[in-house]
Amino acid sequence: MNAIFVVWWKEVAENLRDKRTLMSALIYAPLFGPIMFVVLMNVQINHELSKAQGPLKVPVIGAQYAPNLIEALKQQGLDPLPAIANPEAAVRNRDTDVVLRIPPDYGNAWRDGEPAQVEMIYDASQTGTGTPRERLAGMLQNYDREQGAMRLVARGLSPAVATPLVVSERDQSTPQSRSGLVFGILPYFFVVAIFVGGMYLAIDLTAGERERQSLEPLFANPVARWRILAGKLGAIGAFSLLSLVLCVIGFAVAGCFMPAEKLGMTFDLGPLFIGQVLLLELPLLALFAVLQTLVAAFAKSYREAQTYLGLLMILPLLPSMLMSFMPVKPADWMYAVPLLGQQIGISELLRGRAVGMQPIGLALLCGFAVALVIGLITARIYGSERLAISA
C-alpha cells in the first residue's frame, strides 16, 4: 500500500472516532449556517410581512379635528388608536413605531384653503420602523393628491395641471437577483464550513501529534516526510470537503423552509448550483489545509495552534465584509484572488447569472497555485529537525 494512502486512511479512521472533531466537522461547521439562516430569515420575513400587510395601528392625537382625514385613512387600512400623552417618549421607547398628530388649527387651515399641517412622530434610528412609517406617509400622500385633484376639478381645471412630471419606476431585478442580495452571506458560510471542518484535524495532526510525542516515532519510519504531510493534508481536505458538502446541501434543504416567495424572491439551489459551488471551492480546500497545517507546525502546543487558527479565521471574513461595505462591480480579475473569486462567483450564481468556464478556470488555477506555494513552504517546515522534536 502506498504510504500516503496509509497515512490518510489512518488519520481519517482515527479522527472519525473523535467526538469533538466529528461535532465540528459534521454538525457545527456545516449546519450552523443553514439553521441560523432559516430561523433568522423566517423571523424577519414574518415580522416584515405582518407590518406590511396587517392593519396599521397608529396612535392618533387630535383625531377629532380631522374626522374626514381619519375616515379616509381608515379606508386605506389605518387602525387609529387612542391618543397618548407623550408621543416623543413613546417612539423613543419603542412603545409604538409612529404617531400621527393633528394640530387644533387643522380645521381652520383646511377651510381657508391653506396647507393644513399634520405631524408624523417617529424615531428613524429604531429598526423596523421603516415599513409602518412609509405606509402612513403613503396613505397621507394619497389623501393629499385626491383632495388636491378634487379642488382643481371644482375650479374647472384638469388635475394634470398640477402634475407636470410622472415618474415610472422600472425595476430590472428579478425574483432571483433580489434573493441574491439577501442571500449574499451564503459564500461566507461555505468558507467557514471548509475552514472549521478541517481545523481540528489540522491542529491534531501536527501540533497535537507532536504534543502527544508520537511524531518522532512516526518520522522514524522509512517514509519521506512529504509523503506523511501529503497523507495528513488529504485527511484534512476530506473532512473539509465533507463539511462543505453538508453545508451546501443544508442550504438547499433550508431553501424549502424559507418563505422567500412572499418577498418576491426565489431561492432555488439545484444540483447544478451545488456542483458549481463545489468546483469553485476546491482550491480553498487545498489552501486552508496547507495554511492551517503551516500555522499548526509553528505552534508549540495544541492550545497555541488553536489560538492561532482562531485568529486566522478572520481571513475568510474579509471578502464578505469588503463586499457588504463597498458594493463591488464584479470584474474578471477578481476570480484570480482566492476567497474573493469564490465570493463573487457564488454571489453571481445566487443572482441567477451564469459564471463561465473561463473565470471558474482562473479561480481554480490561481487558488491551486497559491495553495501549492504555501504547500511547499509547509513541506519545508515539515522537513525541519525542529518540527519532530517533542520536548
Binding site: V6, E209, R212, E216, A220, N221, A224, E385
Partner: protein, 244 residues
C-alpha cells in the same frame, strides 16, 4: 551493524555531541551509558536520521545515513525517547499502522505481530484502545510497533525508563532474546545496573565525548574497580586519565 564515526552536533553555541565514534555489532547489545544531558539522545537521533549530523558519518549495515536516510530507517527498529501512541487506536492498530508504513504485506504483518505479541506478553491489551495504558503497556506497544518490520538493527532510547521491577526484568529478557536472534541492539541508559546486566559492550559518553568503549569486564579492569558503578563514577569524574 551500526558504525558511528566522529559525529558532531551543535545547538547554537552548545556542542551536544562532539566527536563521538563507536561500533555496535550484530549479535551484541551495546549500551550507551552517560549522565543526563551527555548527548545520548542526540546521538541516537542522528542514527535514526531524525537529525542531521554537523560532521561525521553514520553507517547502518553499510548504508550512509546522510545519503540515503530512508534506506537506513528501513533496516532500523527505533524506540525513541518520545514514545507516544495513538490513543484513539487500539494497540493492534498502532502496530499495524507502522507495519503498513514499512510497506510489509498483510501476511507478513500478521505473522510478525503475533510473534511480538507473544514475546512481549501483551495479548490481553491488544484490542484495547491505548488511552489509559500503564507505562509498561505503553512501552510494550511502542516496542512491538518498532520491531514489527523485523529490523536487523534495534535502537532503544532508555527502554526501561519508568518501568517497574517486573516490567524491567521482562524487558531485559526480551532484549536478550532479540540479541540471540543475531540482531544488533543499541540502547542508551543512565542506569549502571541495567547496562551491567545486559550489555556486551559499554560506550560511556560524557559532555558529548566518548570517554570509554569497552566490555564490562575490561571497564572494571581498566579502572581498577570491581564495582561497575564505581568504575562509571571514576570514568566520568576523571576524564584525563582515560584519554589514552
Amino acid at each position: 551493524m551500526i558504525e558511528v564515526r566522529n559525529l558532531h552536533k551543535s545547538f547554537g553555541a552548545v556542542k551536544a555531541v562532539d566527536g563521538v565514534s563507536f561500533t555496535a555489532r550484530d549479535g551484541e547489545i551495546t549500551g550507551l551509558l552517560g549522565p543526563n544531558g551527555a548527548g545520548k539522545t542526540t546521538t541516537l537521533r542522528m542514527l535514526y536520521t531524525l537529525m542531521k549530523a554537523d560532521a561525521g558519518q553514520v553507517l547502518v549495515d553499510g548504508i550512509d545515513a546522510a545519503t540515503d536516510p530512508v534506506a537506513v530507517r528501513r533496516v532500523l527498529g527505533v524506540l525513541p525517547d518520545a514514545r507516544g501512541l495513538y490513543k484513539r487506536l487500539t494497540a493492534r492498530e498502532n502496530i499495524d499502522y507502522f507495519a503498513r508504513l514499512h510497506g510489509i504485506d498483510a501476511m507478513q504483518m500478521h505473522a510478525r505481530r503475533e510473534a511480538l505479541v507473544d514475546a512481549l506478553e501483551m495479548r490481553d491489551i491488544l484490542d484495547r484502545r491505548t488511552t489509559g495504558f500503564s507505562q509498561g503497556q505503553r512501552v510494550k506497544t511502542a516496542i512491538a510497533r518498532a520491531l514489527v518490520h523485523d529490523p536487523k538493527n534495534v535502537i532503544l532510547d532508555e527502554p526501561t525508563n519508568g518501568l517497574d521491577v517486573m516490567s524491567t526484568r521482562a524487558m531485559r529478557a526480551f532484549l536478550k532474546s532479540i540479541k540471540s536472534e543475531g540482531r544488533c541492539v543499541l540502547l542508551s541508559s543512565h542506569i549502571m545496573q541495567e547496562v551491567a546486566a545486559l550489555c556486551d559492550r559499554i560506550v560511556v559518553i560524557a559532555h558529548g565525548h566518548v570517554v570509554a568503549d569497552e566490555t564490562p569486564d575490561a571497564l572494571r579492569a581498566q579502572t581498577g574497580e570491581t564495582n561497575l558503578e564505581d568504575a562509571f563514577v571514576k570514568i566520568i569524574g576523571s576524564e584525563e586519565g582515560l584519554a589514552a
